[in-house]
Symmetry: C2
Subunit: 172 residues, 2 copies
């Protein structure tokens, strides 16, 4: 099984175990984001976009165990200050990093070799039922814990193609 | 046990059965909306507001079996066209009514005696994983099925106190 197929199967299994109901179409269209780095199980994200209009957006994000969504920000654009988003942990555990004083002995490490592209190091640990709101244009990255994580994202309109990543090799 | 306590206990039990994790604070602050009609188990709603900023909002709504959220709309205001919202069924079954051709033999009936205050009759049935997006200022009402329903609401900013209800006796 290749990495994409493995990620899809595993993500759907995690969603099912968490009791999150999906339509057949949503299951088939599960998005696998590898960010152009060709190392999906290390740097990647699986997601379902429930709704994304000009005004608001909701997604379900799945992080496999130890999988990292790489550092990025949502810049101003489309007549607004940029995307505002709330991450709510539904299952597992997620380690979120934001600007501020670096947390000593953090739970996550950036993907090996890519440390220079992970510049914010203040840690927020989210367990099921816990959430954190990120204001627009704030650098952030996050990683799934040992059992991975399912995270609901509630936000303003999403324009993924305008996200600014710290890693110069990333394509979204 | 009075109706409010019953509704709270039942709603928390339904959320737990659906695998939806809440913090202790969220459980304690579960909102019980009776809409001023003093008939909570017939006309009412239990909800948790996860986030509500100037730009976006997310809530978890619980409808007890047969419980109805009464007909209302979200008018323009606060510099915008009004609240846009997506209802996503997470558990149970919900019957949503919107403008359009009345559905023959609908699954829900308005609360007895209040029929005149329920004017839109086109039925949308939502089962787990199914969703529907309501544009601003659209009249709607909804009722939980035989096992009740849990519905995630993804929306623009929520200003419940400006909602316009069809029933003149309602206080929100």
């Amino acid at each position: 099984m290749d990495d994409r197929q493995y990620a899809k199967t595993k993500a759907l299994k995690m969603l099912k175990a968490a009791g999150i109901a999906l339509t057949k179409t949503e299951e088939e269209n599960l998005e696998i984001a590898g960010f152009g780095l060709n190392d999906l199980l290390s740097t990647g994200l699986e997601l379902i976009t429930y709704v994304n209009t000009e005004r608001c957006c909701a997604k379900e994000l799945v992080l496999l165990p130890g999988q990292t969504c790489p550092e990025h920000r949502h810049p101003p654009g489309f007549g607004g200050p940029g995307k505002e988003e709330t991450f709510r942990c539904r299952a597992g555990e997620v380690y979120l990093y934001v600007p501020g004083k670096a947390t000593p002995a953090p739970k996550a490490k950036p993907p090996a070799g890519d440390e220079a592209h992970y510049t914010v190091r203040r840690e927020i640990v989210l367990r099921p039922g816990e959430q954190y709101t990120l204001m627009p244009d704030t650098l952030h990255w996050f990683q799934g814990g040992p059992q991975g994580a399912i995270v609901s994202e509630f936000s303003t309109a999403s324009h993924d193609d305008t996200d600014v990543f710290t890693h110069p090799g990333i394509i979204r």
